[in-house]
Structure formats: structure tokens, C-alpha cells
Amino acid sequence: MHRIILHVDMDAFYASIEQRDHPEYRGRPVVVGAGPNERGVVAASSYEARRFGIHSAMPSREAGRRCPHAVFVPVNMARYVEVSQQIAAILSRFTPLVEPLSLDEAFLDVSGGAALFGDGAAIARQIKTAIRAETQLTASVGVAHNMFLAKLASDLDKPDGLTLVPEDPAEILAFLAPLPVGRLWGVGKVTRPKLEAAGYRTIGDIQRADPALLGSLVGRDAAAHFKRLARGEDDRELELDGEEKSISREYTFDVDCESKDVIRGVLMDLVDDVGRQLRKAGRYAGVARLKLRWKGFETITRQRPFASPACDDFSLRTAAEGLFEAETIDQPVRLVGFGVSRLQAEPRQQLDLFADAAGPADSKRERLNRTVDSLRDRLGDATIGRASALPRKDGPRH
């Protein structure tokens, strides 16, 4: 069947809600997040603020410098969640096939909706009208026959945009060709400079690239992936299950931290927290992920798969330690985070040859952790813990 995919992206979502709820903010630069004299970052900014070069994840102090007369408002997440649910309800009137990506964007598969609502463009217009009428907010919508193109399109005509991607393969090529290479999924901070240095600046450059040459630059699999995307091909399906896809925790140091021991200690606390949440959810994780943000806001994430899906703290800690020890802490760390993803309902089913040699069986460790969890649930978190998490005699650990 011919697919019709919509990507609905709310325009400056948090900031627009604040402007709607506070008429006095309208037409003024609005920055949602930490105050201009506080430590913290911009969570969102209105279009007026963006004109001053303010963008999300920028330190608020920097935003204050760029635009001292901006309105700084704290994040009111409960309110945004409420509005997000209102929008989700609107989207679900058009199709049950909705994959929310975050509070302010979602994919819709409306392939089956033509008889009821008209073609993709007609559905997109109805969605925009309904959102505006019921929430006084605007959304930008991309219409295409796959997810990659739809998401790319929604971003081309913001705010309040509606972009239709052509269906004819030759027209798709022409549509994509002038766009910068950074628009391809998977081309980010690392890959983009590499591609640009080699002369691949636009998607058109990738379309014309020799697969072997591109492969020698970014690896064969990535090259094939970029070539496909550059032709506008993407056959991924929407992920519809509402189950949690990842669990993560992070911690921002009050004062940037340079001590590897202190960071490791905090990381282990985060790991325990994630482990407990994971066990509570009754899931097993396939991948562990470490996040470090340096003083200068540069952030790195490193991940590695578990040899077998795990939910016990021992496996999680080993993974976190492995990722952490591989990093050189040569500058102060501002934030440390740990997360798990590729969650599944069952532990690994593959049996081991050297069961006895590999230490205690996973199931034994899992039982131990579950016992500790139930003790903590009943008697409080301080009941039982790792000895290494206790304050040392020579002072608090962090």
C-alpha cells in the first residue's frame, strides 16, 4: 500500500504556551529555562528570542548576554505535558497510528485515512486547523511517503508551515539535492565536518557520491544508509507501543568536578537508580549509555551493548565502569548521566557454555537486587547499600 506519513512539529512549543498563557509576553523574546543569572540552560525559546541567536541547550547566562531584555520564565513542565496530551488527543482523531517523539512532535501514519479525511495535504490542513482552534498554538507539518522525508519537510517552512514532499523519485531527488548534508539522519556533529571536509556539502553531493569513496570516509554501512536517505528512501515503520524505550538519570554538579573518583561515585548512584527503575518496570536492558558534559557544555555519549540483556546492578555497574574508564577526564565535568535502552521483557534466552566459569549466574544477581529493592521499598533507601557508597572517613565522597 502507498504510505502517507505526517510529521507534526509544534512551533517553539514551550515558549508559545507561555506567550499564549501570558498575553504580555506576546511579541517579545521569551526564554524558557534557567534565569539569566543562574546556572542552567535554555530549554526553549520563542521565535523573537531566536533572532538574537538564542537556542535551546545554550547556557542561560549566554542568552542573557545576547538579549538582556528577554523574558526569562521557569520551565512549567506540568503545563506543557497537559497541552501535549491535548494535542495527542487531536492527532488520535485522524489515525490510531501515532508515534510521539517528544512532547512537541509526533509521526502519524495516515495511509488508511484517505477515504475519511482526504489526501495527506488535506489531513495536514485539518490537523493544523484543529490544533489552532483548540489550543491557539501553531504546528508545522511535513507530508511524505516515509518518516525521514516527513520529518525533514516539517522543518523547512517553520513556523505554521505545511510542506509536501513530491512522490515522483526524480522530483524527490531534486527536492533533496540543494539541502545541506546535515539534514540526513545520522549526520551530526562528528560526521558532518568529515563529509564537508571531503566536499560533500549538500544532499545532492551525497546523491552523486561514489559509494566506495563515501564508504572509505564514513564506513560502508553508514555510506549505504546515507545514499538511501539521499535518494529519499526510508522504510522504517512507526514505533507504536507506548512502552518505555529507555531509562536514564543524570546529575549536574553544583561546581564542575575534576575528580574521577567523585564522578565515578555519583555515576554508581545513578546506575543503582536506573537499575531499580528498570527492575520496577520489569524490563531487561540491551544497551548501556554513559553521558558526560564538560565544563564548556560539550557533551559526549558513549554506549555499549550488554553481552546479554540485564537488569541487575552488577551488570549495569560493570557496563558503566567500562564506559567511564575508557574516557579521559582531562577537563572539569559538569554533568554525568547513565541510561539504558533497547528494553525488552525477557532476559536472554541463549544458554552459556561456560556457565560456572562466568561467575554467579545472572538470575542469582537479579534475585539479590530484587531483594534489596524490596527492603528499600519497605524500610527506606538507607536500609541497605553498597559499602563503597558510604561516606569515607577522610570526608564525604561528594
Binding site: A307, Q349, Q350, D352, L353, F354
Partner: protein
């Protein structure tokens, strides 16, 4: 250095050694191939500090000398040049002029002094066997090695020279492949070496079917010398797990299967496995094997293969790759599958010294 070399000769040399050069070397000079010209020979050397590969090809040496040049780039230039004589001349600033017909390239190199010295043999023992034998033994086992860095001791293939036999083993902790070959050597030469997967893959790529290979083994290094090629690798240090203990001494049931038919059917049915459900079910009945797979979000597949079997019905689930890989790397027409029950190790054997043990998957 100034040489004239045929395109075929230089390509042969570069293709032999370029595989060692990694995508992101830790030192700039490790991207380069060391070229040394003397006495009608051009020696080419590459290294990643773990594995070093060296070979010699014929060349007319007008002026002996050496340089280093970026390996991948030189390979791509040579590949595109016409099949003719190529002149390479190096100046004192490490840049080389490459001339072929009317084509001219000037390539910047790095100083020979920066290039790590080729490791030397220190003591140890030397074993000689046919290249074909070494290659076949590696083919039959090396795919079973682990790629999980947390199990580094399993990130290679064990070569155990004991009791006048070379035993080769690879395992990832869930399946294990073993093969043996009789070989004469003195008792005091008995030794074990775990050869890292990268070196194994290079050996598989460059070993030929004819001629002998000399294997030099010392405590932490192995050298493989054949024709005009030398591969030296660091060994994985540590004690390999006791693999003998996981090989079942006896299984209850023995099934004879035609390898090719089994392999093709497995490959087809395995198309219906997914990340969520990665197992394949083998149901052995009287002279009949039913292979099936199902994936909740994709669909299902099954296929029946004729076998020789008169024992009790037995069904067991495996990771399909764990069954496909040994079959793909064997050449026998018939293989034997030995099983006890759905949770005990399965064994694949054939009429050559080869044994493969694999653990089933538990399915609910």
C-alpha cells in the same frame, strides 16, 4: 630511493599489506606503508602496533633507500594507473614522485624514523605446516571467536601445539569450534597461543593453497612466514578457558543431515527471525527435520529437510547464525548433529577432525 616497478608487482604488495592499516590509527605514521628498496626488491611493511605485515615484491632499484607513504591513498592511485612500469622517486623531505606514462603524482610522506621497528623474534619455537592446512583450520574455527571486548581472552583463536597435534579452538562462550591436525614436534616445543582475530583475518586473506608456512611462537608474539610474506602479531595474554570440559562426552541422539540442503533451508527460514525473536526451532522426527521461525511482528516460516534419523522426537531452539556458520565453513557432504534434550549442548561433527558445540536458546 628511486625504483621502477610493474603495476602488478606493486599492487600485489599493497593488497597484501594494506588490511593491517586501521581506519583511525593512533599515530599518523601508522596510516602509512613503509617502503624499503634494495637489491631488486621492494619491501612493504604496515603495522597497527599489534599486527605487523611485511612482504617483498620485485622492482628495479636505481637507488636503494626507504620512505613511508599513506597506504590507502597509494593503493587507490596505483589501482587507477595503467598497467605499465611505474617510477617512484623519493626526495629528502619524504615526498615521493610517482610517474607512469604521462601521469604524475607527488605524494607527501613521513620520515622512516617515525615508523615503528619491525618486531624481532626472541626465542620460542618454530613449527612448519602447509599453508592450505593452516588456512582450512582457521576457516573451520575462527568465526566462533567472541567480538565482545569484555571477554578479551576469547577475542582470538587458540592454537595449541600439544601431543604432536595442533588443536585450534575458538569460542564466544555460547558455541565453540575445534579442529585438529597431526604435526610432529619435540615435546619441549609444546605451547599454547591465542592469536587475535585481526591477525587471523589477515592470515585468512593472504594464505595461499600451496607452499609451507613457518609459525614462530614465543611467549607473547607469533610470526607467520610464507613465500615473501611475514605477519607478526602480539598474542592475547592469559589462560584460555578449559574447553575440553564443555565438549559433551556423549549425546543421546545422532542425526545425519545433508549439509548443503540443511544450510540453504536454515538461511531461508532465518529470514523470519528478528531482534525480538532471534531463535530458530529445529524439530527432529523420523527421517524428517522441520525448521521453523516466527516473529510476532513479522510473520513465520517453516521448511522440511530429509535426514537419517530413527530416534525419539526432539525439538530444540538455536540462534540460527550459530548453526549456519559451521555449515558454511565445512566442505563435507554429510554432517552429524548430536543432541540430548532441548537445554543440553548440541554437537555438530563430520568425517574430518572437527567438533562444534553449541548451546540452545531457552524459549517460553
Amino acid at each position: 630511493m628511486k625504483i621502477v616497478i610493474g603495476k602488478d608487482a606493486v599492487m600485489t604488495g599493497l593488497q597484501l599489506v594494506h588490511g593491517v592499516v586501521g581506519a583511525r590509527p593512533t599515530l599518523p605514521v601508522l596510516s602509512n606503508v613503509l617502503l624499503q628498496a634494495q637489491e631488486d626488491r621492494l619491501w612493504l611493511t604496515t603495522t597497527d602496533l599489534e599486527v605487523t605485515m611485511r612482504c617483498a615484491v620485485e622492482a628495479k632499484v636505481a637507488k636503494a633507500g626507504a620512505t613511508t607513504l599513506p597506504a590507502k591513498r597509494i593503493l587507490s592511485i596505483m589501482r587507477e594507473l595503467p598497467a605499465d612500469n611505474i617510477e617512484i622517486e623519493t626526495d629528502e623531505k619524504h615526498s615521493s614522485s610517482i610517474t607512469c606514462g604521462s601521469s604524475f603524482f607527488k605524494i607527501l610522506g613521513l620520515s622512516v624514523d617515525d615508523f615503528p621497528p619491525v618486531p624481532k623474534y626472541e626465542g620460542g619455537h618454530v613449527f612448519t605446516l602447509e599453508q592450505r592446512v593452516l588456512k582450512e583450520m582457521l576457516q573451520k574455527t575462527s568465526y566462533a571467536a567472541s567480538a565482545d571486548e569484555t571477554r578479551y581472552i576469547l577475542n582470538g583463536t587458540l592454537m595449541s601445539f600439544k601431543a604432536n597435534k595442533l588443536t585450534m579452538v575458538a569460542t564466544d562462550g555460547r558455541r565453540l569450534a575445534l579442529t585438529e591436525h597431526e604435526l610432529e614436534f619435540p615435546k619441549e616445543a609444546e605451547t599454547d597461543a591465542i592469536v587475535p582475530t585481526k591477525a587471523v583475518n589477515e592470515l585468512l586473506r593472504v594464505l595461499k593453497d600451496d607452499g609451507a608456512v613457518k609459525v614462530h611462537l614465543s611467549k607473547n608474539q607469533a610470526g607467520f612466514e610464507f613465500d615473501d610474506v611475514l605477519l607478526i602479531t602480539k598474542l592475547i595474554e592469559g589462560t584460555y578457558p578449559n574447553f575440553r570440559q564443555v565438549i559433551p562426552s556423549q549425546c543421546d541422539q545422532r542425526i545425519t543431515v545433508e549439509r548443503e540442503a540443511f544450510l540453504i533451508a536454515l538461511k531461508r527460514v532465518a529470514l523470519l527471525t528478528s531482534e525480538k525473536s532471534s531463535s530458530i526451532k529445529l524439530a527432529f522426527g523420523k527421517n524428517k527435520l522441520k525448521i521453523s521461525a516466527s516473529s510476532p511482528d513479522v510473520g513465520e516460516a517453516h521448511e522440511t529437510v530429509s535426514i537419517k534419523y530413527a530416534g525419539k522426537e526432539i525439538a530444540v531452539a538455536f540462534n540460527p547464525d550459530y548453526v549456519i556458520e559451521p555449515l558454511r565453513n565445512l566442505a563435507n557432504d554429510e554432517i552429524y548433529v548430536e543432541l540430548t534434550d532441548e537445554l543440553s549442548p548440541g554437537v555438530i561433527k563430520c568425517d574430518v577432525p572437527f567438533i562444534y558445540v553449541l548451546m540452545p536458546m531457552r524459549v517460553s
